[in-house]
Amino acid sequence: MAKPKLAIYWAASCGGCDIAILDIEGKILEVADFFDLVFWPCAMDFKYDDVRKMQDKEITLTLFNGAIRSDENYEIAKLLREKSVVLCAFGSCASEGCIPGLANFTDKQTIMDYVYKTSPSLEPGNDVVPQTNVKVPEGTLHIPNLWNTVRTLPQVVDVDYIIPGCPPQSNQIAAVIDAVVDILKNGKPLPPKGTVLGASDKCCCDECKRQRNVKKIKKFIRPFEIVTDPEICLMEQGMVCLGPATRSGCGAKCVAAGVPCRGCYGLPSNIRDQGASMASALASVIDSIDEAEVERILDTVADPLGTFYRFSLPSSMLRRVQQ
């Protein structure tokens, strides 16, 4: 029997997800052994054309990481959707926008201006700005167009499963691979479409070892402002910890290290907007019934939107800022 084909792709992402795949250590050999790796631009030299030449649904499984923010990202997403039986949004960028998605707080023009014209690291007077089409003697050079709004993979193509995390934890990847192998080898049924793999339905607090109690907050503080108590819930110590509004699966490693959760595993199944949910919870535990004081306390939250929507802006209810 021919080996099942595996494709791994990165769109707008940092590459961390690919490294996370390699982080499964010995298991990678098992993967190589079991799968026929047909497409992994990060690791090996493949051409888009090779994929285009494939039959529809020839690839058994595609792990797609990275957000969609250019014509190229979109084109390959569509291509892999066509060629794959199962398309997995792999990692936070693909599933909810992640850090690249923070671009939705601004627009393309501002970004281009900053990067190519006003950034302090540029030589003054620089006006070389990339163009999508540049005519040169040899012909026209084409650069894929950057979108004004970052999209998530599920927003642009049909996605079968989601593996959250920035990046997904190696042990979770290994577990997913084991499950896939199990399905393929033993003919187990597939989980229902849309299932979040490599994570649980509960939130980060489920895995957090810290003691939790009544939360009453008079002032929000940032991690560098205090030496944290290693035993007590960070939120009770006044930090904005997104743990309660974040899917569990990561093992609550950041929190164990004394750094509040930033929410990379995305929103749990039951809620619609991670940022709004967190904001609501946070507002609930503010210890004041005086409006002016509440405002004063809220002023102590640094960059509320960036905090609440760090990973989920493109997939949030409003998706991007309105000008």
């Binding site: 979109y74 089409n133 907007d273 904001a279 507002a283 509320p304 409003l318």
Partner: protein, 152 residues
């Protein structure tokens, strides 16, 4: 035709909803722009509801509850007050005027006040104009057309 704002109103069951009822039974005329969602308490109003209303096309959101101290659930309105405060910050960050979200205390006996609140809020939203969320939905055709244009 002039702009008719669409406003979602979250009214608490015990005070404001009854107040609205009173306004109605008292034959007080007020702007029809507010479409009400009854909740048991303003404490039930999740910021998500507000954001979702704007997503769904509302031009303004009005939340009405009992006066402080009168809450049927003791202090649900205090919690609401805090949540609305943070929601306004989110709206502001998202580029939506926070004035489009208003929190008002209307007791069961304040039909007149309800009338006044609805009317003034409607007028305010009318002044602010409609909002249309830009690039909210992903429209493949638009993207592809643009790509084609670039690809020349």
């Amino acid at each position: 035709m002039s702009f008719e704002p669409r406003i979602v109103g979250f009214l608490c069951n015990w005070c404001s909803y009854t107040g609205a009822d009173l306004a109605g039974t008292a034959r007080m005329k007020y702007a029809p722009n507010v479409m009400t969602v009854r909740v048991m308490c303003t404490g039930r109003v999740d910021p998500g509801f507000v954001l979702d209303s704007f997503r769904a096309g509302a031009d303004g959101v009005l939340v009405c509850g009992c006066h402080f101290g009168d809450c049927h659930y003791v202090e649900g309105n205090h919690k609401c007050m805090r949540r609305i405060a943070i929601t306004k910050r989110i709206l502001k960050g998202m580029g939506i005027q926070p004035e489009r979200l208003r929190l008002e205390w209307v007791s069961a006996s304040e039909g007149a006040r309800f009338q006044e609140v609805v009317n003034s809020f409607t007028e305010e939203i009318r002044g602010l104009g409609p909002i249309r969320l830009k690039e909210w939905a992903f429209v493949p055709e638009q993207v592809e057309a643009a790509a084609a244009a670039h690809g020349e």
